[in-house]
């Protein structure tokens, strides 16, 4: 399920670029023509990666980033591009396969395809905003939107005051227009954005897995009994088998429901402390907020230090204790099965004997105590905030060369100011690199999963406007490439990251650093001073929240593009609006659809 997302975003890193820092015009046009004709590529960009430090070959690598429609295997896509009669791929990469061959033979093309396959990597993680739709769908729905607006202007004098009649007239016009025959079916969406958009579909998978597991246990448990029922009392071996099967399944069964119960209790506690309690008790809510704020605070104030230390002294042991209890409770049946005597004689006497009422009372008292502690901490926190304002002056955090943007990067931004913006960011993995790569991959898979299943409305967390954002670990796990296509400008995009997707971004980038590097070619940005990613706390706090450090880190890691292709220059909002209009025009005539049409024609 994640691969389908990851395959949508491909990077081809071809070493040994001997061309200049600009693509010749014919190649530019050729690439445009091919990509337009193939009509499955949403975005394509070309950039130059500086040579790896210590690499004997100082030539830069060419990176071709492709963001394509869903469902393509890279081979099939590259096959189509390489064998396209336009020949642009050969014009771009040919010199790296067989220099000075203008017209490649079939063998040349196959060589190129094989090379591209060896150079390519699908995204290690990525997010797709509104681009689960095909290029053609977006283009056609845009056309529908434009035409509808034109028609609406014509019909406005006649129907302007009657929403129902106006919407009906537009709907009839659309139905009767043979150009829009394709729109009569509901807009195709992928499962999680269409049928599976509800929470039920998301819950169905874990529930089904649990039910299947218990059903399996039941069947295995029942098998020897069914055998006995059919064929009578078994022999010694048969009995031994029956005994073993019964013991094992019963133990697994008990462990399973113990585990489920433990999970449910933990989930309940998490929910309790994060949802109803903050909603009910203001002091609790403020305390939670201030804990998060203090963990994200840039400078070592007394309260942020206290929160951090408190996290280690109280938070971490508490969480570990809860986890240990859950594990012990889950594994208890196994211990009883393996060493029943020991459990009965040694362990059980040590456990307190409590009635249900006592347990309930303890739980209530514990929650009350936690609340009281929360309130106390909140007061303390407020008190210490005042105190730290007085006594603990925040330290000035020196961020050298902040707010600097390389002119080549700014030029790229200016070039796309009317369209979808694009960025390349190149960083190095922190040592030990295998460990960083592993952590990054785990984090990115989580981000990808969340993007695929939960963030299906074009927003990644609270960050809007991302068409594609993808991360690649390249150069054998040494470097980390982030590419993105987004609405807005780069500064605003980083703000969206900080405010909207801080956890995911921190997770993805915290294992990287910037090493000094020479520019790929003259006129391109290099890195003068090494730096690590802004410091994080408890893995996810701080990090990108250090605005200056993070922005300067991101800015300095950026590379300009030599070429950018955008199949349909539409913002995420426009794409969503056009699809909404299509479904409303061709859907049931009701108030909601009518109003959606009215709003869509208003711009």
């Amino acid at each position: 399920m994640l691969e389908i997302v990851r395959q949508q975003m491909i990077c081809i890193v071809a070493p040994g670029w001997a061309g200049g820092a600009e693509l010749p015009k014919p190649l530019h046009d050729g690439l445009n023509a091919v990509l337009r004709d193939v009509a499955v590529v949403h975005f394509a960009s070309i950039g130059l990666l500086p040579a790896l430090t210590g690499d004997p070959d100082p030539q830069p690598s060419l990176v071709l980033e492709l963001a394509v429609e869903e469902g393509f295997r890279p081979y099939d896509l590259l096959y189509r591009l390489v064998y396209h009669p336009g020949g642009a791929m050969w014009a771009l990469f040919g010199s790296m396969i067989a220099p000075n061959v203008a017209e490649p033979t079939a063998q040349h093309k196959q060589q190129l395809l094989d090379k591209l396959m060896s150079w390519h990597s699908i995204a290690d993680g990525g997010f797709v905003g509104a681009r689960d739709r095909s290029v053609r769908q977006i283009a056609m729905e845009k056309d529908l939107l434009d035409q509808t607006r034109i028609e609406a202007r014509k019909l406005k004098p006649k129907y302007g005051n009657d929403r129902t009649a106006f919407a009906l007239a537009l709907s009839r016009w659309a139905y009767a227009n043979p150009d829009f025959g394709w729109a009569a079916t509901a807009a195709p969406r992928s499962y999680w954005r269409g049928k599976g958009a509800g929470i039920g579909a998301k819950l169905a998978y874990p529930v089904a897995a649990i039910v299947l597991w218990f059903a399996l246990l039941g069947i295995v448990w029942a098998l020897p009994r069914a055998f006995n029922w059919f064929f009578g009392e078994p022999g010694r071996v048969g009995k031994a088998i029956e005994h073993a099967v019964t013991k094992t399944t019963e133990c697994l069964f008990t462990m399973s429901w113990h585990g489920l119960l433990a999970f449910a209790v933990i989930a309940f506690l998490v929910w309790l402390f994060l949802v109803p309690l903050p909603a009910q008790f203001v002091s609790w809510r403020r305390w939670l907020n201030s804990v998060q704020q203090e963990l994200d605070r840039p400078t070592e104030t007394l309260s942020s230090l206290a929160t951090y230390v408190g996290g280690w002294v109280i938070g971490v042991p508490l969480l570990l204790a809860v986890a240990a209890c859950a594990i012990a409770y889950t594994l208890a049946p196994l211990a009883y099965a393996l060493a029943p005597v020991y459990m009965h004689d040694v362990i059980e006497p040590k456990l307190p004997k409590l009635t249900g009422l006592q347990i309930t009372l303890i739980a209530v008292v514990a929650i009350a105590a936690v609340l009281a502690i929360g309130a106390l901490f909140y007061r303390l926190n407020r008190y210490f905030t005042g105190l730290s304002e007085k006594f603990f002056h925040p330290l000035e955090d020196d961020v050298p060369r902040a707010q600097q943007i390389h002119p080549s990067v700014e030029r790229c931004e200016a070039e796309l100011v009317d369209g979808t913006q694009h960025m390349f960011s190149l960083t190095e993995l922190r040592g030990p690199q295998w460990w960083s790569a592993w952590c990054i991959r785990v984090a990115l898979r989580i981000v990808t999963f969340a993007g695929r299943v939960f963030f299906t409305q074009g927003w990644l967390g609270n960050a809007p406007g991302i068409h594609f954002g993808h991360w690649h670990i390249i150069d054998g796990g040494r470097r980390f490439l982030f590419c993105s296509n987004y609405d807005g400008n780069f500064g605003g995009y980083l703000d969206d990251f900080i405010n909207g997707a801080a956890v995911g971004t921190t997770l993805a980038w915290r294992w990287t650093e910037l090493h000094p590097r020479e520019p790929a070619l003259a006129g391109q940005p290099g890195v003068a001073k090494p730096r690590s990613f802004p410091p994080t706390r408890f893995v996810v706090f701080r990090g990108v929240k250090c605005e200056l450090k993070f922005k300067s880190y991101a800015r300095d890691s950026m590379l300009p593009h030599l070429y950018h292709f955008d199949a349909c220059n539409r913002t995420v909002d426009q794409i969503n609006l056009a699809t909404g209009l299509r479904d409303a025009l061709f859907g049931e005539r009701n108030g909601k659809n009518d109003d959606l049409i009215m709003r869509a024609i208003e711009t």
């Binding site: 004709d37 079939a106 093309k109 195709p188 499962y191």
Partner: protein, 426 residues
């Protein structure tokens, strides 16, 4: 014109993979499908409510009632645009069918296929002792036999260019690439709507590429065909002819050889006869007829479309053979177990045994059920069987063949599609 074929997968993750896996497994393990078919044939009332038909009579009934059971069921899987096989009868259908007949008349089978088979066998015989049945043999025999379909425009189609220089540069590499492209387009017809998204997307890109390729050379094709139709008519027919003719025949041939090698006695007998005929192997009409019968019988055991679907445009009933007719609600589909019909003992005598010389009597058309039935039957069925006969004769002239086991799997699949079949000359 570009088509809007792409739709994201609306099925819950996992379900498609599961159902498609099952479908492919059944296709490869045709015996299981046959057993299921036998079951439904014995008790047609089981399949009836699900729109499943297994008895020969019922299958023929569905295939001949074209207004009630429409071929449009194929349309969804035709990624490079509409063509005969997915069309309802009408003026376009009639005109296209006439054009196809005309093109088929231009074929020179079995002479052309014999010639290429001889040439390829010569190469295989002198090469190392193993080869790929599809890549090194069948693909080429079928390609050369079918060259007259595009006639003088063949090179233009392969080059994808009306430029004479590009056409002159056509070599086997380009031809191979062209054949791979059309294979995946046809593969989608085989894989059907169950195909996973990546397969469908591959078929779509190949279909798109094929369309673009034909679009550039409608001029030469029109000249070769000697027609003055609108370029979109030429394009539709050329695209359709390209993808449906070649890959389906090649797959059928591979399936037939697979079945033959699974029947050592039959193979041994045929091979001995071929060896004894020596030089006359290509000219002996009796032998050729026997081989042809064998080809058909082999195809009966491994038909390329063991399952077929038809759309039901309006409410109707279907005689499944059960006491009560099955209701077919309009808008639904019926599934035909062609494989079951081919083994229906009520019409095929001694249906379970391999018997090429069986007298089909009045049921002879049923023998060609893998090509469809009745009016909608594939117009190229005899050409295809002839080509495969040539191909098989060629293979019989080689020393004994067997599947090249040991170095990985001899047969590799891509879904239900057979990608390669490694053979060894012993």
């Amino acid at each position: 014109m570009k088509l809007s074929t792409y739709e994201p997968d609306a099925l819950a993750p996992g379900i498609r993979r599961l159902s498609y896996g099952l479908f492919c497994w059944l296709n490869r393990h045709i015996v299981v499908l046959r057993a299921a078919g036998a079951l439904l044939r014995r008790w047609p009332s089981i399949g009836g409510p699900f729109g499943m038909v297994a008895r020969a009579s019922a299958v023929k009934d569905v295939l001949t009632r074209t207004p009630s059971f429409s071929n449009t069921a194929h349309a969804a899987n035709m990624v490079s645009g509409d063509y005969l096989i997915g069309m309802d009868p009408g003026p376009t259908y009639t005109a296209d069918r006439a054009l196809v007949r005309e093109r088929l008349d231009a074929l020179d089978v079995p002479n052309a296929s014999d010639e290429e088979a001889k040439r390829r066998i010569g190469i295989l015989d002198s090469g190392d002792r193993s080869f790929d049945l599809i890549e090194n043999y069948l693909m080429w025999v079928v390609f050369h036999a079918m060259k007259p379909l595009f006639g003088s425009a063949t090179d233009a189609v392969v080059a994808g260019s009306a430029d004479p220089a590009a056409q002159a540069a056509v070599d086997e590499g380009l031809q191979r690439q062209y054949m791979l492209e059309i294979r995946y387009v046809a593969g989608q017809l085989l894989a059907g709507s169950l195909a996973t998204l990546d397969l469908r997307r591959r078929a779509e890109t190949c279909g798109d590429a094929l369309q673009a390729r034909i679009d550039r050379v409608t001029g030469p094709i029109g000249t070769a065909w000697g027609v003055k139709s609108a370029s979109q008519d030429i394009e539709r027919n050329a695209v359709g002819l390209a993808w449906i003719s070649h890959p389906v025949t090649v797959q059928s041939g591979a399936l037939a050889v697979q079945e033959l090698l699974g029947r050592p006695k039959v193979y041994e007998k045929l091979w001995s006869r071929a060896q004894s005929l020596k030089d006359r192997v290509w000219t002996d009409t009796g032998f050729r007829k026997d081989v042809r019968d064998h080809v058909l019988e082999l195809m009966r055991f491994r038909p390329i479309f063991p399952l077929l679907a038809r759309d039901v445009p309006r409410d109707t009933e279907l005689q499944t053979g059960a006491r009560q007719n099955a209701k077919c609600p309009g808008g639904g589909k019926v599934s035909l177990l062609g494989i079951a019909a081919l083994f229906d003992p009520s019409v095929v005598s001694d249906s379970r045994s391999f018997c090429p010389e069986r007298d089909w009597g009045s049921e002879d058309p049923l023998r060609y059920l893998m090509f469809g039935y009745g009016y909608r039957q594939c117009p190229a069925r005899d050409h295809a069987v002839d080509i495969l006969t040539s191909a098989l004769i060629g293979l019989l002239t080689l020393p004994r063949l067997q599947l090249a086991r040991g170095e990985g799997k001899a047969i590799t699949y891509d879904g239900p599609l057979m990608l390669s079949m490694r053979m060894r000359i012993t």
